[in-house]
Amino acid sequence: MPQTPIVHFEAASTLAVVVSSNEPLLFLSDELKVIAASASFCRAFEIDPASVPGSRLGELGNGEWAMPKLASLLSATASGSANIEAYEIDLQRPNHKTLHLVVNARTLDDGNIDHIRLLLAVTDVTNARAEARLKDDLIRDKAILLQEVQHRVANSLQIIASVLMQSARRVQSEEARGHLHNAHHRVMSIAALQRQLSTSHGGSVELRAYFTQLGQSLGASMIADPDRLAIQVTVDDSAVSADVSVSLGLIVTELVINALKHAFPDERTGTTVIDYRSSGNEWTLSISDNGIGMPVGSDAPKAGLGTGIVEALVKNLGGEIKLSDAGPGTVVTISHQESAGLRTEVSTAA
């Protein structure tokens, strides 16, 4: 016979609810005596259900629940001076790895203020925490890997750029040197894009920053006297996908190279403007200069590789290219209309 007579009897239904709870639960008296434990609790923490009734919290299992901090928090909850909400404890058992638990305790109020009982819910978050840590590790690893890839791409582009410039310094032919320099500009255009992408989120490229960098890069290598020639960038807040930006960047590169090479002979001064604006699916890119203007008729230069590249890229983007007199100078406008893609399809089908 227990020495302390049980004054209160628990309703069978209450005990049934506790025992059948899916969530590990302990039903305690205010003296931290275990009235009932859910089957899930016994299963999760390897406690013999037969040993539960009448034992004290600290006596459960091998005494691993005798945590002074938990006991004092529960006592405080019982007296109404505290509330255990999502309190974290480590359960240490011999021959088991430490479990990370989240406990919630509250008093059960059935109107009888002399009869205080506690309900302690225990959640094992060991695996969840481990998974979260693993996820963090993976995210960090991926970020490091991405940085490493970007570093390698930059190094590879540097190798190509170095080799092209070495070749350009060695060749005798002025024409060959020009071609090598152009190839170098194309590589640097992709490099500027790569730099823009490495600082962007979600893989879209902000054109103003990209074209500004592109203009600086082209200016640095092609403009000997910045007081004579300048590149100006007037671009709205548009952002495009990485593959579209490759095409746009290469078009800008070709057209700016062209303008700087041909529009300002004989020490002319002038400005080349890179302009881009978009609205919905419609966009317009224009490269204009205030130079000598395009020669026409028999004086017109033979279309070079640059022209071919631009035409191919514009076609890819579903755009239209227009060359006009800017008075003074030349403006090349590439535009993409909402219905442009459709019209191209119709005309090729016809």
């Binding site: 970007q150 930059a154 190094n155 582009l157 750029a161 080799v163 310094r169 890069s217 290598s221």
Partner: protein, 130 residues
């Protein structure tokens, strides 16, 4: 100075990039020396006293990367000018010794020779590093 020509030490572990950088230095009219890591660079700096500028990569095998090397050089050979280039994420020039220049890779040859010319022509005493 060597025959009146400034001497530039290129520190870079990638052979092709190093070759290109040496070619760049020569084409700019300077004398070029090369090292494939920080340790070799320090040995060269210790063995001769005519190096005016060090143009270094950041990520290199060996005991020091280019950033540590640049600080080491600033402390031991304060007059030596410094240019640092890297393919890694954009670096703050503030993490480099005072007065050094940073370029991200791939760098533009003109930008590098321009920076070399400016650094080599400035004989202004360096402000003490904070």
């Amino acid at each position: 100075m060597n025959n009146g020509k400034p001497v530039v030490l290129v520190v870079e572990d990638s052979a092709l990039i190093r070759m290109g950088a040496v070619d760049l230095v020569l084409s700019a009219g300077y004398e070029a020396l090369e090292a494939c890591d920080a340790d070799e660079a320090i040995r060269m700096l210790e063995s001769r006293d005519d190096i005016d500028l060090v143009f270094t990569d950041v990520q290199m095998p060996g005991t020091m990367d280019g950033i540590k090397l640049s600080h080491y050089i600033r402390n031991r050979w304060p007059p030596v000018k410094l240019i640092v280039a890297s393919g890694a994420a954009i670096l703050e020039e503030s993490s480099l010794p005072f007065g050094s220049r940073f370029f991200s890779k791939p760098y533009d040859d003109h930008a590098i020779t321009d920076a070399m010319a400016r650094l080599l022509s400035s004989d202004a005493p360096l402000a003490p590093t904070a």
